[in-house]
C-alpha cells in the first residue's frame, strides 16, 4: 500500500522509465574477463575514504584545533565519548590502510597496463589521488599534537624548506611562521578537514567518470581493444559487486581488528623545547626520508622529486603497446626494482638510529642505517673521541 503510494507520488513528478535505462546500463555494464579480485582495490580505496569521512566527522564533534586543547581533546575522545576510542583508532588505521590500498590499486593498474592509451588521464588523476592521500596522512598526523607528530611535522616542513628558490616561502606557507606552532595546526586542520576532502571528492568523481566512460581496460594491445559485450563480459552488478562485498567485509574485519588489537598510542603532548632522539616521519614517507640522507640537500630533494614526476609521465614514456605483464619485461623489471628499493630504504630508515639485538649481540644502526657493534652510547663516545683526536 505505502510502496504503491510512494511509487505513484514519484511517477507523477519524474519520468522513472526514462531514467531506468541509463541506470540499468551502468549497473549491468559488462566488465572484461580479466577483471579479477585485485580489481576490487579501487572500490576498497573509496570505501576507506568514506570510512575516513564518517569517522572524521565523528572526531570533529569533540576535536579542538588549538595547541592548548588538541592533545587533550583527542585524549578525551579516546576515553569519554561512547565508542570514541573505536572511531579514533579506525580513523588512524584507516589512514594507513588507505595508503596501502591506494598504492596496491595503482600497482595493479601498472601491472595490467591499464594506464596505457586511452586511459592516461585516468592514471594521472589516480596519481593525484595517491599523492593527496599521502598529504592527507601528513596533515592528519599533526592534529593530535603529540611529540611524535610535532617533530615529524617539523622535519617534514624543514625538508620542504630546502627546495631551491621557493623553499623558504613554501615552509612559511606550511608553518604559518618560523616554526611549527598554533598557526601550523590551524593550517593543517583546514587542509585536512576542508580542502583535501572536497578536492578528493572531486578527483574521485572525475576518476570514476573516466573509468565508466572508457570502461575497464582489457588485456589486449593498445588500439586493439574490443568492446566487451554482454555475452562475453561479467556484469558489474551483481557479479562484480558480490566480489567487492566479500573484500569489503574482509577489509572491515582487518580494520576493526587492528583498531582493537594494535591501537595507536597518543604518547606525550607536543613539547617544542624537548627534541626526541631519532625523529622519523610516517612509515610511507620513510623510504624517501632515508634516501634524502645519502645525498647533499639539493640533490636529495631532486632524487625524491623524480618519483612523482615519473609516475605522472610514465604512460607517455612507456611506448610499448602490450598490456600483458609477461610481454613487458622492462616495465615489470623496473617496477620490481622500485618496489625493492622502497622496501630496502624503508627497512633501513626504520632501523636507522636504533639499537637492536641481532644474534645475541647489540648493534647500533647509525643515521645512514649502517650497523655498529655496541650500544648507541658507545658509538657516540667513539665519534666524540674521533672528533677530539
Amino acid at each position: 500500500m505505502i510502496k504503491r503510494l510512494v511509487d505513484a507520488w514519484v511517477r507523477q513528478r519524474f519520468d522513472v522509465d526514462k531514467m531506468r535505462g541509463p541506470v540499468e546500463k551502468q549497473l549491468k555494464k559488462p566488465l572484461p574477463h580479466n577483471v579479477g579480485w585485485f580489481h576490487t582495490l579501487g572500490s576498497m580505496s573509496l570505501f576507506l575514504f568514506l570510512s575516513q569521512v564518517v569517522t572524521g566527522i565523528l572526531l570533529l564533534v569533540y576535536y579542538r584545533p588549538t595547541v592548548n586543547e588538541a592533545f587533550e581533546s583527542v585524549k578525551f575522545i579516546m576515553t569519554k565519548p561512547y565508542m570514541g576510542w573505536l572511531y579514533r583508532q579506525v580513523h588512524a588505521w584507516g589512514a594507513n590502510l588507505m595508503v596501502i590500498v591506494v598504492f596496491l590499486h595503482m600497482l595493479r593498474t601498472y601491472i595490467t597496463g591499464s594506464y596505457k592509451k586511452p586511459r592516461e588521464v585516468t592514471w594521472i588523476f589516480g596519481v593525484f589521488l595517491f599523492i593527496f592521500t599521502m598529504i592527507f596522512g601528513f596533515t592528519g598526523y599533526l592534529l593530535p599534537w603529540n611529540q611524535l607528530a610535532y617533530w615529524a611535522t617539523t622535519v617534514g616542513t624543514e625538508v620542504a624548506g630546502s627546495v631551491p628558490i621557493v623553499g623558504e616561502w613554501i615552509r612559511t606557507l606550511m608553518r604559518g611562521g618560523p616554526s611549527v606552532g598554533s598557526e601550523t595546526l590551524s593550517r593543517f586542520f583546514v587542509i585536512h578537514v576542508i580542502i583535501l576532502p572536497w578536492l578528493l571528492v572531486l578527483l574521485v568523481l572525475i576518476h570514476l567518470f573516466l573509468v565508466r566512460l572508457q570502461g575497464v581496460a582489457t588485456m589486449e594491445r593498445v588500439d586493439e581493444e574490443k568492446e566487451v559485450d554482454k555475452a562475453h563480459g561479467t556484469p558489474f552488478f551483481p557479479t562484480h559487486v558480490l566480489k567487492e562485498g566479500i573484500v569489503f567485509y574482509i577489509l572491515l574485519g582487518i580494520l576493526i581488528t587492528l583498531a582493537i588489537l594494535a591501537p595507536f598510542d597518543l604518547g606525550e603532548k607536543a613539547d617544542p623545547l624537548t627534541t626526541p632522539h631519532a625523529i622519523k616521519p610516517e612509515w610511507y614517507f620513510l623510504p624517501f626520508y632515508q634516501v634524502l640522507k645519502y645525498f647533499p640537500k639539493l640533490a636529495g630533494i631532486f632524487v625524491v622529486t623524480l618519483a612523482p614526476i615519473f609516475l605522472f609521465l610514465w604512460p607517455f614514456l612507456d611506448r610499448n603497446k602490450e598490456r600483458d605483464p609477461r610481454k613487458r619485461p622492462f616495465a615489470v623489471g623496473f617496477c620490481i626494482l622500485v618496489l625493492l628499493s622502497l622496501f630496502i630504504f624503508g627497512v633501513v630508515g626504520y632501523l636507522s638510529e636504533t639499537e637492536r639485538q641481532l644474534f645475541g649481540k647489540t648493534y647500533y644502526f647509525d643515521v645512514y642505517g649502517l650497523p655498529h657493534a655496541g650500544t648507541a652510547a658507545e658509538h657516540m663516545a667513539k665519534l666524540t673521541d674521533a672528533e677530539v683526536k
Binding site: K75, L242, G245, I246, Y249, L252, T257, L261
Partner: protein
C-alpha cells in the same frame, strides 16, 4: 730561517739600547700605577698603619662583609691607624683596647648592630644585642663574666665575618648545627655546665638532620629553630609545644583538642617530646603507638586500646593508599589513561596527610571519618581501573562475534558469486 734570526737579534738590541730601556721603565710605571688603584694597595697608605704589622689579619678581613662596607681595625680595637709610630697609634687617648674581652666585643658589635639609624641602610634587624642579653649565653658572658660562653664572634667568626646568607657562613642554616656543636660537642668545655655532648650526633640521625644534611632542606628545623639564635635559651617543658608548633601548626592545633592537652597544662605531659623525643626525633609511623603509649599507659587500659585502634586505622589507610598507588602506576604502564584516577589518588594523599595531623586529637571518631573517606576513594579508584581493564578485554572478545559475522557474510556472498559464475559458464 736567517731572516728570523736577524729579527730576533734586532729585537734584543732594541730592548738593550736606551730607547728600549725607556719603554721597559715606562711599562713598570704603568703596572705600578694600576696596582696602586687596587683596594689591597689603596689602604696601604698613611690612612691605616695597622697593616704594617698586622697584614695577616688585614688579609683575613678582605673577604669579610665588614671590610667591604668600610669597617676597619679601629672600629673594634680602637687606636689611631693614621699614626705610623706604634706608641702613638696605641696611645691612651686613642681608645685602644687591643684584643677585646668577650663582653667588650659584644658591646663593640652592638655599637653598630644595635644602632637602628646606622643599620637601617643595610636592612638588618637591630635587636640582636637585646636578645643576646636575655639568652643563657649572654647572661653568662655579660653578667657572670664567664668568657667560655658564646659571644658574637664564636658563631659569626672574627675578622672574616661573612653575610648570614652566604652558604659559607658558619650561621648559614645548613652550618648552624656544626657551629653549635663546635662548643656543645666539646666534652671538656661542657663539663662544668653538665650539658650532654652527643646532641649533634642525635640530631644528625634525626628526621630533621637527615632532611638538612642529606636533602639540603634549609627550611627544616636546626638548633636555632627551637632554641633561638641570639636569644638562645633551652625551651622549658611548657614551651616545647610552641617550639615544634612553629612549623607543625596543624599537629599543634589538633593536639590542643586531645586529652593530653589538659595533662600538659598541669605539667604532667611534655607536649610533643613525650611521644616523639626531641633531638633524635624520627619519622613517625603508626608503630609509635605500640611504644609511646606504654610510657604512661599499661596494656589493657582503655587508653592503650584507643592507641591500638588508631594505629590499625592509620595502617589500614596507608596500606590502601599504597596498594592503589601501585594499581594506578601499573595501569599507566599498561597504556591505560589514568589521569582521573591519579588526580583522585592525590586527593587520597591529601586525606592521608590530614589524618596524620588529625591523629593528634586522639579522637577515634574524627579518624574513622577520614579513614573511611580514604578507603572509599581508593576502592573507587580500584573499581574504575578494574572497569577499564574489563572493557579492554571485552573489546577484544567482541572480535569473535564480529569475525563470525564477517565469515558468514563472506561465505554467503561467495556462494552467490559462484552460483552466478556457474550460471554464466
Amino acid at each position: 730561517m736567517s731572516h728570523h734570526r736577524n729579527l730576533n737579534h734586532q729585537a734584543a738590541h732594541f730592548i738593550t739600547n736606551e730607547r728600549g730601556s725607556f719603554f721597559v721603565y715606562f711599562g713598570i710605571l704603568i703596572i705600578l700605577l694600576f696596582l696602586s688603584t687596587h683596594p689591597l694597595f689603596a689602604n696601604t697608605d698613611n690612612e691605616n698603619q695597622c697593616i704594617a704589622c698586622h697584614s695577616d689579619y688585614w688579609e683575613e678581613m678582605q673577604a669579610s662583609i665588614h671590610s667591604r662596607n668600610g669597617v676597619a681595625c679601629q672600629d673594634c680595637h680602637g687606636g689611631d691607624p693614621a699614626q705610623a709610630d706604634q706608641a702613638l697609634a696605641k696611645g691612651p687617648e686613642t681608645g685602644y683596647i687591643g684584643v677585646p674581652e668577650k663582653d667588650q666585643a659584644v658591646q663593640r658589635c652592638g655599637n653598630c648592630h644595635a644602632n637602628v639609624e646606622f643599620m637601617n641602610p643595610y636592612g638588618i634587624r637591630t635587636d640582636q644585642l637585646a636578645r643576646y642579653l636575655t639568652s643563657t649565653h649572654g647572661k653568662r658572658v655579660m653578667v657572670d663574666h664567664d668568657m667560655k660562653a658564646a659571644a658574637c664572634m664564636d658563631c659569626h667568626g672574627y675578622h672574616d665575618v661573612i653575610a648570614v646568607s652566604d652558604p659559607n657562613s658558619p650561621v648559614y642554616p645548613s652550618n648552624v648545627p656544626k657551629t653549635c656543636n663546635h662548643c656543645h660537642g666539646n666534652e671538656r668545655l661542657m663539663e662544668p655546665y653538665h650539658h650532654p655532648t652527643d646532641v649533634f650526633d642525635q640530631y644528625r640521625e634525626s628526621v630533621h638532620g637527615k632532611a638538612l644534611f642529606e636533602k639540603g632542606n634549609l627550611a627544616v628545623a636546626n638548633c636555632a629553630a627551637c632554641h633561638g639564635s641570639h636569644g638562645a635559651v633551652p625551651p622549658g617543658v611548657k614551651d616545647l609545644g610552641a617550639t615544634c608548633g612553629k612549623c607543625h601548626v596543624n599537629e599543634k592545633k589538633y593536639f590542643l583538642e586531645s586529652p593530653h592537652a589538659a595533662a600538659m597544662v598541669e605539667g604532667k605531659f611534655s607536649e610533643c617530646t613525650s611521644c616523639h623525643g626531641f633531638h633524635d626525633v624520627q619519622h613517625p609511623t603508626a608503630a609509635l603507638y605500640e611504644k609511646a603509649c606504654l610510657n604512661c599507659h599499661a596494656t589493657g587500659t582503655t587508653e592503650y586500646q584507643l592507641g591500638q585502634a588508631i594505629e590499625r586505622e592509620l595502617n589500614n589507610a596507608e596500606q590502601a593508599f599504597e596498594k592503589t598507588k601501585g594499581t594506578v602506576k601499573q595501569a599507566a604502564i599498561e597504556g591505560f589513561f589514568v589521569e582521573e584516577e591519579a588526580a583522585n589518588l592525590e586527593e587520597v594523599k591529601t586525606h592521608l596527610i590530614e589524618i596524620k595531623s588529625v591523629q593528634h586529637t586522639l579522637n577515634n571518631h574524627f579518624l574513622t571519618e577520614r579513614h573511611d573517606a580514604i578507603v572509599k576513594s581508593t576502592d573507587e579508584i580500584e573499581r574504575s581501573i578494574r572497569h577499564k581493564r574489563l572493557s579492554h578485554k571485552q573489546r577484544q572478545w567482541m572480535l569473535v562475534p564480529i569475525w563470525v559475522f564477517i565469515v558468514i557474510m563472506v561465505l554467503v556472498l561467495y556462494r552467490k558469486y559462484k552460483q552466478l559464475k556457474n550460471q554464466k559458464d
